[in-house]
């Protein structure tokens, strides 16, 4: 299945890119599994927030084919 991954703000600079398309073979993949298995060898930076399909979720959320997964630092709008 194909997963779209996005990075914002300091997380984009940390990863060196804004967006990736990832081809994944596993069927019950969590966000945490995605990070460690496909995106980085390092730990997820402290306080990183995760959204799947533009809704906040935690690292144990299971990803489906076509999902958009985003990683970003704490928000500072308003």
């Amino acid at each position: 299945m194909q997963i779209s991954v996005k990075y914002f703000a300091s997380m984009r600079e940390h990863m060196g890119c804004a967006e990736q398309k990832i081809e994944v073979s596993e069927s019950l993949l969590t966000v945490e599994g995605l990070w460690h298995g496909y995106l980085s060898e390092g730990a997820l930076p402290a306080n990183t927030l995760v959204a799947v399909n533009m809704e906040y979720c935690d690292l144990s959320a299971v990803i489906k084919s076509g999902d958009e997964v985003a990683f970003f630092p704490p928000v500072t709008g308003g």
Binding site: A51, M54, E55, A70, T76, G77, G78
Partner: protein, 162 residues
């Protein structure tokens, strides 16, 4: 999108607007209010957040607001829908800037219309508080040390930031 079943957003109007150009919050308020049904609400409370030229005792000359297009609008709509479910709110308007911002430019407008002023105050305050905690915006400031991301505001947003 479970919230759509609870209470419908007031019909027809654009309640959540992301702007990449400077905007006049008072003109926006007047325009939006003229679209509401006359005589139905009795109270309006608005909050306008403006870029200051000082922050944490450092002079700040410019700022860039990055956001997550699509999720920003959805998350602000969720925040407003929660306030609509909790308070007796008739209508609301949220306008938020993104892009390059200079001192004294408005960053955000939150306005709430209600039959009663208590609901208008509570609703407006909750929307801006939740927006600051949840809407995916990130501020990067041009300060004396160079460009720096504004850090986390979850500890005490009211004391640390506007």
């Amino acid at each position: 999108m479970r919230w759509l079943f609870f209470r419908r957003l007031p019909g027809g109007n654009m309640n959540v607007v992301i702007k990449s150009q400077p905007f006049d919050p008072y003109a926006a308020l007047g325009r939006y209010q003229s679209s509401l049904r006359a005589g139905s609400y009795g109270a309006m409370v608005s909050f306008v957040g403006v870029m200051r030229d000082f922050n944490e005792d450092e002079s700040v000359s410019a700022m860039t607001l990055e956001h997550y297009p699509g999720m920003t609008e959805k998350e602000i709509e969720r925040v407003c829908q929660e306030a609509l479910n909790r308070y007796q709110i008739d209508d609301f308007l949220v306008v938020h800037r993104v892009g390059d911002i200079t001192p004294n430019e408005p960053i955000v407008l939150v306005a709430v219309w209600s039959a009663h002023r208590r609901a208008a105050f509570d609703g407006c305050r909750e929307i801006i508080n939740e927006l600051k905690q949840r809407a995916p915006f990130w501020k990067r400031e041009q300060c004396e040390r160079g460009l720096c991301w504004v850090s986390d505001n979850t500890q005490d947003p009211i004391l640390k930031k506007v």
